[in-house]
Symmetry: C2
Subunit: 621 residues, 2 copies
């Protein structure tokens, strides 16, 4: 326990809940890392698709980014509303379930779970990938580094909700400050030079035009750019992690995250256009990320450049933390409704949903191991889940406002309706654009996950139905039980079991299996039993001798007990098992484990009227 | 069960014991393979030591073999007597224990166990080694082949005592017939040619003289030649495997085995001398076994030669079977006296001591794996154990006759006395000659094994002492127990447990742990309980609410029960645990295992006045 306390901290009492909660300053690193870090890859993903258009392609980044920012704003307003409407935590699952029905809720949950899981694997993998491209000698340790970061994130999150908030604050704010610095200085330069800035470091030359502009290409670029929006829904799910007033704190956090993200996205698009920065071919020699080009063009390759790049890499690796903050909460909500194992709804010793953290860590580790720590192929699977969840959440809010009526509900409904439509269309675009590349996996996994959750729910419902409390429960059950005491040898252990059995009922029967290697009781201790019973004024226990031609000891007893149960339809059969408990594991080689086996077999083979009573005996010292 | 029956045969009833027993014809392959096969390596081992003497060395094989044969005859008479004296199985362990005391018995047992174990590893390894030298392409599979033969022997022996008897009869008798044929024809040739036979295939030239004859060299040759005597004691240990009249059958078997072995040893020595056959350098190019040279010299390299060599190889590999027949019987005798785990004394489904077979197989497999299937280095460890056992057995018989007195006891005592002296001296010679080569391992292992057996015995004695039946056992124990029913939620499962608890005692207390995620009982089902109890004319169960600030559910209950036990020194506390039994393993993810954990924890942490009652509930279908 001491080591455990040292590693994970002392157990936290439920009453310490409030002290464990966070303010917006900590909430931003906890819930915002995923969203903010996507500024580092969203625009780049769009520009990569535009590569074949050469210099002409860069022009399209402005309208594409504008569209994404508008979508982001709509989603923002929607989640702002859900936070107020569901202050106990209103992620897409809750909103969809409450307003569109259980199945819609499960669809949202499944989509989000897959999204969160992918986010862990891809986030860590991207961070390590960037590190490895900077320090190529680490390449052979890619998987090991990924698993190390995963273990660190798991560990930090298991220690409680505040730990990652405090720990990841510095890299998060450094990242935001650096990027805002680049953007601010860059915009000033552009304005000062009348729209024709001179890059300190000239970006690499753009590829020549190889393809004509097509609507499909733009759609694909838009779909890729939309990865910038993943992680936006985290705050609305984690409202309960914030200090009172929770709604205000959560809303502030969401506002800061989205506002920062919008400024970053807009600034990057504007400067990319002004400086003529495009993507470079990923995975090829001479590859340089868009943010690296941009920082170099605006500020040159001084110390600031390296600090900025380092902060980007750190935030990328840590973006997985949003999943760790939110996946367990999502699971908790689903488990609370009985669609996932109930234990996912239990808060662990540090007041976090530890089991959900473990599940996420294990699944992510499996993914990372399968893909050897290089998850490029998983990126197309991304975003589908997030946008599906957005759509369901917005559609849910439309129904919500429709039911609520009242002031402002009409305009809210409008906003959410437009949002649902826009994000819904985006799902279709993303699915169509990336179906063959791998989005089909998500399209396959989501229904499977839903089926699993439904099966779990059915099982719980069945158990609840079959174990529903009876209205009259004491009338039938108060006959004293038939007591069966299996005795192999006569000792203090069996004596104790027999005396205990005789306190329970007047009808006690001793069962003895006759086979070689076992002393026969007749004339030995049976007399003693009868005599003592007489002296104590009790009826003597009946002795049943079972023959065992094949030297089995346990099965004849089980069969006898089952037969007794069948014969006496109105009685409970209590089997009193004398058990010698060994204090050392190696002593288990020295004694048969017949009592344990008998207990287990009766438990499995028995029916509802058999009770198993272990009467333990311990050696001294 | 069907697959098990198919593989190992149907279970055998104890009453089928007689049909399972064997006659001498089957007993010879079962108990004699070790002894008989040693004709193939005993003389060779002695001749190898004599190598430095060149042609002159061969002359010494006659007196050396004579000495060994005399020793063998003494040991034979001794075991013949022990068979009659201990018809229920009288190996060295029993004889030494009965006549010289427990410690002497344990010494014999430890020595024999190590001998049997080594015999398995060395026997199999020798057979595979010979096969590999014939078919070199198999060399990389040495260990695999060893383990395969080990598995086959284990399997055959697990199927019952008769199986190896029937299965190994043909190779055993073929081996004896071939060797007797070679010896008979050879002796005829020698006599016909007046002592100067012409070899059909001339044996390889002997090494030139490089060393003078010394007494120490002869001692070493004698010690090596003594390996021919291992396995002789098997029959006396396995008397109970024979059909009635057991003593006669066992004696006949022993006589045939020893007589055959003596003829083989004498014949080989005589012919080696007559034909001038010595050992060749083992492990060197041009190596050829003595028996191969001999067969070639007498009969040439025709079909008979190859049949003979094949039968020798087969019998070598199967010589391990003697250990499989005897090791479990030895363990059984020791376990019966409480010096080894009792389960070794239980006959399995096929009436053999299966656990002993498994122990031997596993230990031998470990040895083979450690040595990679090449156990040459184990050979020096051999024979020490066997001769130690011989010595103790003979010494025991001396004491036996001394106690018995009567007709012939004086001469019997003389024979055994000479035997004890001779074998005792041989132990010293073998130990001295081979101490540095590895016999020290045996000298180390034997005491360790004895210490282990004494520790086991002490434990059993302690348990027997502490659990000895009390003279008065019902006077104190007949107060009804305090019943504790931990209830988490109110359902049919807990209702059933509660009603059962209420049949056991009037003093029932419901324990409920209050923490988040668990519904609070007040005003919900507590009323129902009280009302129903009143209706049934019983006192209402007391409700104890335990708070759990850290959300632990099990520990507060355990602490409460332990406190109750302490408070009520004269009462038993019966904890009734409602248990929902799942029929499918995967359902275990869906329910907490708190009832199992609580059972286990109470069993381990509890004291002598806590009884644990599992009241199971099962889902339908």
């Amino acid at each position: 326990m001491t080591l455990r306390n040292l590693l994970f901290g002392r157990p936290l009492a439920s009453s310490e809940d409030q002290e464990q909660r966070v303010d917006p300053a900590q909430g931003i690193p906890i819930f915002g890392l995923d969203a903010l870090s996507s500024a580092a890859y969203g625009p780049e993903a769009a520009l990569t698709i535009l590569l074949p258009l050469g210099a002409a392609g860069i022009a399209y980044i402005l309208p594409l980014s504008s569209a994404i920012i508008v979508l982001l704003a709509i989603v923002y307003f929607s989640y702002r509303q859900t936070i107020a409407a569901y202050p106990s935590g209103g992620g897409s699952y809750t909103v969809a379930k409450e307003n569109l029905g259980e199945r819609a809720g499960l669809l949202a949950a499944a989509a989000l779970m897959i999204d969160y899981l992918l986010n862990v694997a891809v986030g860590i993998s991207a961070g390590v990938g960037a590190l490895v491209s900077a320090v190529p000698s680490l390449e052979s340790h890619t998987l090991g580094l990924c698993l190390l970061i995963l273990a660190a994130l798991t560990f930090v999150n298991l220690r409680g909700v505040r730990e990652p908030g405090v720990l990841f604050m510095i890299p998060t704010y450094l990242f935001v400050a650096c990027l805002l610095g680049v953007i601010g200085w860059g915009v000033f330069q552009v304005i000062a030079t009348g729209g024709h800035p001179h890059p300190v470091m000239a970006p690499p030359a753009l590829r020549p035009l190889t393809e004509a502009v097509g609507i499909w290409l733009l759609f694909k670029a838009f779909a890729s750019g939309c990865t910038a929006m993943t992680g936006v829904e985290a705050v609305s799910n984690g409202v309960q992690a914030f200090r009172e007033p929770v709604v205000k704190a959560a809303r502030t956090t969401l506002t800061v995250i989205i506002a920062t993200l919008i400024v970053l996205l807009a600034g990057i698009a504007y400067l990319a256009h002004a400086y003529g920065i495009g993507a470079t071919e990923p995975g090829q020699a001479g590859y340089q990320s868009v943010l690296s080009q941009l920082t170099g063009a605006v500020a040159g390759r001084g110390i600031f450049y390296y600090v900025t790049i380092a902060s980007i890499l750190t935030v990328l690796s840590l973006s997985a933390n949003t999943s760790f903050a939110d996946f367990p909460r999502l699971c908790r909500a689903v488990a609370w409704d009985g669609y996932l194992p109930r234990s996912l709804a239990i808060r662990g010793r540090r007041l976090v949903y530890s089991e959900g953290i473990w599940v996420l860590a294990i699944l992510a580790a499996v993914l990372l191991i399968i893909f050897g720590g290089i998850t490029d192929r998983l990126i197309p699977l991304f975003a589908v889940g997030a946008f599906l969840a957005f759509t369901l959440s917005q559609a849910g809010m439309v129904m919500h406002w429709r039911r609520m009526r009242g002031r402002g509900s009409r305009s809210s409904m409008m906003i959410n309706g437009v949002g649902a439509l826009a994000t819904g269309l985006t799902v279709l675009v993303v699915l169509a654009a990336k179906f063959m590349e791998g989005a089909w996996v998500v399209a396959l996994l989501v229904p499977l996950l839903i089926l699993l959750m439904i099966a779990v729910h059915r099982h719980y419902e069945r158990v609840a139905r079959e174990t529903a409390p009876a209205l009259k429960f004491l009338q039938t059950g108060l006959k004293t039980p038939l007591v069966v005491v299996p005795i192999e040898t006569w000792s203090l252990v069996t004596q104790k079991a027999l005396s205990f059995g005789m306190t329970l009922s007047e009808e006690v029967c001793i069962v003895h299996v006759q086979c070689e290697n076992v002393e026969t009781p007749e004339g030995h201790w049976t007399h003693a039993v009868a005599e003592h019973a007489r002296a104590a004024g009790r009826p003597a226990p009946k002795l049943v001798l079972l023959s065992s031609p094949y030297r089995f000891v346990i099965h004849p007893i089980v069969d006898h007990v089952l037969a007794l149960e069948r014969e006496h339809a109105d009685r409970t059969v209590a089997v009193v098992i004398p058990t010698l408990v060994e204090r050392h594991w190696y002593h288990y080689f020295l004694h048969n484990q017949r009592s344990e086996l008998l207990s287990a077999l009766l438990l499995v083979k028995g029916d509802r009227r058999i009770a198993i009573i272990d009467v333990p005996w311990y050696l001294e010292g």
